[in-house]
Symmetry: C2
Amino acid sequence: MKNTQVINFHIKGDERGSLVAIEQLKDIPFEIKRVYYIWGTEKEFLRGKHAHTELEQILICVSGSCKIRLDNGKEKQIVELKDKNQGLFIGQMIWREMFDFSDNCVLVVLASEYYDEKEYIRDYNEFLETIRTGINDSI
Amino acid sequence: MKNTQVINFHIKGDERGSLVAIEQLKDIPFEIKRVYYIWGTEKEFLRGKHAHTELEQILICVSGSCKIRLDNGKEKQIVELKDKNQGLFIGQMIWREMFDFSDNCVLVVLASEYYDEKEYIRDYNEFLETIRTGINDSI
């Protein structure tokens, strides 16, 4: 789906274990201003349910697994994150829902901006309307 | 120990689970240029064994636990990372060794610089000598 991408980061593995390194503007297309991580989410709980007008993110399941439903207003797609070296890039104006969290799931997110509630779209109809009216501008 | 600090990040917890957010230059004292993470390290293996002349880092065990031996050339200290919201800041010229990794340990590191082998000190005697001779400059 346009404006989303699964990135398989290189694993440096040796007798010391495995390591993935992600450098801003090299391995991912933005500067990392914020890092957050989520754990202890019930399997049946649905997180996310919003889109961003500005923020770009990389989602990585560094422990366990979860699924991400991506929705650009026209098509939907589900991505399962279960490999530690797999990052999911989500760009602007993508509605996302995270679900099916495993017990040990730790989801790490690298974000291109500081937290700013103003650039969240939390109403699905507003999201669809923004897509419809802004399609020649920001998408 | 000077130039090291344990930071207890705020946990935003609700029915959706737990979340820790870390913003550069706000929750930590540097810009995040690189993020790396380590897993699958044998319990008895010793990682690290170096110091940095430039790099500053925050270490977080987002799964499992491990221990970090910190050494400024004069004193040593062991920090156990086992709480997901606990970050260990390690500044410049601190020799560090990571050990006692739990099976499920995932250690996430936020780093202030791109990878640059030139600013690593990998020889312990050289580290001590740099501390001794440079103590009025960079330390």
